[in-house]
Amino acid sequence: MARVHDRGGWPGAGPIDRFEHPLSWWEKRMDAITTLLMTPEKRVLRVDELRRAVEDMEPAAYERCAYYERWLHAVETLMAEKGILTREEIDRKVKELDARP
């Protein structure tokens, strides 16, 4: 059976939703952060690693998540693997930012 990301010919696919939402400020940031980490100057990530981390998502989460939520998940996973950021650190930073007046 094909893995969840391997969609070609996936059974049960329905009509294509052609609504196009303009990317939000935050989606553009997520895109920019990810691509910056992959530039030849930084080389913190490689595109194949990004894909692997997206493809390894739990199938139901993969299907549920919006596009840049998958990228966020992958970047968090890879930063943890590389010892650059832990999820706990990110959780703490979220709380810290939340506590801003």
Binding site: M30, A32, I33, L37, V44, V94, L97
Partner: protein, 210 residues
């Protein structure tokens, strides 16, 4: 873009909703990567601006040149990245771009069944439907049905080729030049080339009636 607007762009626009978990985590990840010296807020802002400057209009310029200049078209088909750079367009570091020409006999349509690979260095962000599970699933098994959904009904005698992109190889469709455009200059021709025609889910627009 005026310099005095730059500082403002480090700060998100006034929200019209409570920040979502996604937004909070993106902000947290960026803040931590900045603290650790891996990237700067300015680099992120510039990367967003750079992506915003990449649009289908760039692809339309490339196609219009290919329509009027057969030698350029030959170079585009041989090595798209190099030919594109002749027009002063830089497509960034990622991926090979392969151009595929639509003719009276062959119609190409592009997908990335595994993800969302797209010549984003030239055309900018891919549209939502291009990244959707349904498009990725269906266009490889029923391309004519999908094209019909997009309003494009092809002659049964036209061969359809579906090009499945990878991270390392991304496709640009050169739509067929519409008839009745023989007198048009490059700029006017470019206005007929839509994003969807560069993906192959549409043809170039016919010239307006005169």
């Amino acid at each position: 873009m005026h310099d005095d607007s730059h500082d403002d762009r480090h700060v998100p626009p006034a929200p019209d909703h409570d920040p979502t978990d996604f937004e909070k985590r993106v902000e947290a990840v960026q803040a931590l990567l900045v603290e650790k010296g891996i990237l700067t807020a300015d680099e992120v802002r510039r990367a967003v601006e750079e992506m915003d400057s990449r649009t289908p209009a760039q692809g339309a310029r490339v196609v219009a040149r290919a329509w009027v200049d057969p030698a350029f078209k030959a170079r585009l088909l041989a090595d798209a990245k190099a030919a594109i750079s002749e027009l002063g367009i830089t497509v960034g570091f990622d991926a090979t771009i392969v151009a595929a020409e639509n003719t009276e006999r062959v119609h190409h349509v592009v997908v990335c069944t595994l993800c969302s690979c797209y010549p984003r260095g030239l055309l900018g962000y891919p549209p939502d439907w291009y990244k959707s599970l349904n498009y990725r699933s269906r266009v490889v098994v029923d391309p004519r049905g999908v094209l019909k959904e997009f309003g494009l009904v092809l002659d049964p005698n036209v061969e359809v080729r579906v090009l499945d992109s990878t991270a390392d190889m991304r496709y640009l469709v050169i739509p067929a030049r519409p008839s009745g455009t023989e007198q048009m200059g490059e700029e006017e021709l470019a206005s007929l080339v839509t994003r969807d025609s560069l993906i192959g889910v549409a043809e170039a627009r016919p010239p307006a009636m005169r």
